[in-house]
């Protein structure tokens, strides 16, 4: 792993002049050919981190090692890293080909060679034959592709993408997600991708870093992040979830919704206050006739058809739980709820637990 690392961020801090801490000591290793996504709500520092790597923001302290060398003092134009900006930042007075050829032209490369390379790049992003078109005549998706081609023609080892799909409509966004993934695989370039869209992050990335308030809360594969969130914030941010306050009775036994559940987690200490995440699809509803004992009961309060599944809200005491199931239960039905031990994710309390718990409790109103 160690010699596979291409970019290494070490204890990076960015404090703005007004005292706002944009990044509070972030460390991150990124491997060759990896697709890493920085995911978080606006203001979490993900764009600041990207801008530091690109050279557009000067960190207050910390290191950014590129192939083992500190590049913090290099201006953007001396870094072998290219960026795709949120609103593409294409040069409006140049046509498509001139935009793509901007980097090679600056380096004084052979015009004919560049022209060939430009055509090859445009073909790769699906814009073959668009060379002479004006930027203003392109659609958002096409501009996006030009921006990618303009960056890739410089053969960077690392490509930074700052919410590049945010301005596109849903359908186009899905298309571009696949397209980007394909380009990354074919080109073998490391992608660092910034987004606030968790679905986007989960579908495209090799690894996801979930950020909040200038820190990385959790770094892992999309499966890890989804199935084993390490804090209420991550659980809440990624996908739909039920987040509940609970108590660890002892290792492998947790109490919430006034019932005790066997689980797979331990090491929290006896009677420790914890947060519990149960994904809506992991809550199984049983009829009252089911012989299962010692599980919470509830009443179906609402039922929505969502295409692939039904979404139900089930009230149990003070809590309202979100349930996804392919099986509809009419509103008013009394049900028993069952959760498999491996589907219960137990987490330490964190500073944002109160917020998240309150929001989830508000669903009950």
């Amino acid at each position: 792993m160690e010699n596979n690392v291409i970019l290494s961020v070490k204890d990076l801090r960015v404090v703005f002049e007004d005292g706002f801490v944009a990044l509070g000591g972030v460390s991150l290793d990124i491997g060759k050919n990896e697709f890493v996504t920085l995911l978080g709500p606006s203001g979490c520092g993900k764009t600041t981190l990207l801008r530091c790597i690109g050279g557009f923001e000067k960190p207050t302290s910390g290191e950014i090692l590129y192939k083992g060398e500190d590049i913090i003092h290099l201006p953007p134009y001396k870094r072998a890293i290219n960026t795709v900006f949120q609103r593409y930042a294409l040069f409006p007075h140049l046509n498509v080909a001139q935009n793509v050829a901007f980097g090679p032209d600056l380096r004084g490369e052979d015009k004919k060679k560049t022209a060939l390379e430009v055509s090859r790049m445009l073909e790769m992003v699906g814009l073959a034959g668009y060379e002479k078109r004006k930027i203003s005549s392109l659609s958002g998706g096409q501009q996006q592709r030009v921006a990618i081609a303009r960056a890739l023609i410089n053969k960077p080892d690392v490509l930074l993408l700052d919410e590049p799909l945010a301005a596109l409509d849903l359908k186009l966004r899905r298309e571009m997600q696949l397209e980007l993934k394909r380009i990354q695989r074919e080109s073998g370039i490391t992608f660092i991708f910034v987004t606030h869209d968790q679905e986007e992050a989960l579908t495209m990335s090799d690894r996801v870093a979930v950020m909040r308030s200038g820190e990385i809360l959790q770094l892992g594969t999309p499966e890890d992040i989804y199935n084993e969130p390490q804090s209420a914030f991550v659980a809440d941010f990624i996908g739909d979830s039920n987040i509940l306050a609970g108590t660890m009775v002892r290792d492998r036994l947790v109490r919430f919704l006034n019932c005790e559940f066997p689980c797979v987690d331990g090491g929290f200490g006896e009677q420790a206050e914890v947060d519990i995440v149960v994904r809506p699809e992991d809550l199984k509803l049983r009829t009252m006739e089911d012989p299962i004992e010692g599980v919470p009961q509830g009443v179906v309060e609402s039922l929505l058809f969502k295409g692939v599944h039904y979404e139900m809200k089930v009230r149990s005491g003070d809590s309202v739980l979100l349930v996804h199931s392919t099986h509809a239960r009419p509103v008013g039905t009394r049900v028993k709820m069952f959760v498999a031990p491996e589907d219960i994710q137990v987490m330490h309390k964190s500073d944002c637990s109160p917020d998240v718990l309150k929001r989830h409790a508000d669903r009950a109103k």
Partner: protein, 271 residues
């Protein structure tokens, strides 16, 4: 309904007549072979001949043009970089600087003229061509800033960064990306500065000296003494030049809008 429309058109016609009548008169009488305006003495070009041999007027014309183009060029450079400097400042200092830069536009020309004259007096600079040029630059720069600033605001905020990202130094980025993009603003700033400079009398009056006088000052002294048909000839030439220049500048824009009824016509007229 039709008569209302006719009234509206007639009104515009009347205003046009008011604005053009004196100019038409000047042009007509510039060909009049009689020194008095009271009678028509036949067609002649002698006033034009006299005009071109009048060293005072020709010298003044030269001064006006050289000061105009120099002041416009220098203030365009200064104003463009100034606008960028202002644009990059933090909010508070920017607002403070903006109010300072706007002062000459808020102030009357008399105050600007007098204040610059006192400045040169304090610095013991002899009034003449240099002070005239400096003063014209001084009152032109704010207009350039004014016309470049909106273009900067319209810029994609990542444009300069994108250029640097692709390997351009900040200066390369400026000349290859930023400047072409804000060019319309820079150009209209230049034209505005040129017009302001050529048109100016008041500031020039206070800040020139030692025999250096531009067209405005020369006409002022001549007009106080009485009217000379040579000035009619001069006016005619200037009017024709301006007419050709303005039509030329705007012809392309007007052509572009041909046919497309909905598109709002844009005309570059500094005012």
């Amino acid at each position: 309904m039709n008569w209302k429309r006719r009234i509206r058109k007639a009104y515009i016609g009347l205003i046009m007549a008011f604005l053009y009548a004196p100019i038409v008169m000047l042009i007509l009488y510039s060909f009049n072979n009689s020194k008095s305006r009271a009678q028509w003495g036949g067609f002649t070009l002698k006033w034009y001949r006299e005009l071109f041999t009048d060293e005072a007027i020709m010298g003044a014309l030269g001064t006006t043009l050289s000061v105009g183009f120099l002041a416009a060029a220098i203030s365009t450079v200064l104003g463009t970089f100034g606008a960028i400097a202002l644009f990059q400042m933090k909010r508070r200092p920017r607002q403070a600087m903006m109010s300072i830069v706007n002062l000459p536009m808020l102030n009357s020309e008399v105050v600007t003229g007098v204040s610059l004259m006192l400045l040169y007096a304090m610095a013991h600079i002899q009034l003449g061509y240099v002070t005239l040029l400096l003063s014209h630059i001084a009152f032109c720069v704010p207009y350039v800033v004014l016309s470049v600033m909106p273009k900067l605001r319209q810029l994609d905020p990542n444009l300069a960064e994108a250029a640097q990202d692709l390997g351009a130094t900040p200066l390369q980025g400026f000349f290859r990306v930023i400047l072409p993009d804000i060019m319309p603003g820079v150009f209209s700033g230049f034209i505005m500065a040129l017009t302001m400079s050529i048109d100016d009398f008041v500031v020039s009056f206070f800040t020139t000296g030692s025999g250096v006088s531009n067209l405005s000052i020369t006409i002022y002294t001549m007009a106080k003494r009485g009217i000379s048909p040579k000035i009619n000839a001069l006016s005619t030439i200037i009017f024709v030049c301006v007419f050709v220049l303005l039509i030329g500048i705007n012809l392309q824009d007007l052509k572009k809008d041909d046919g497309s009824g909905k598109k709002v016509e844009k005309v570059r007229i500094p005012y």
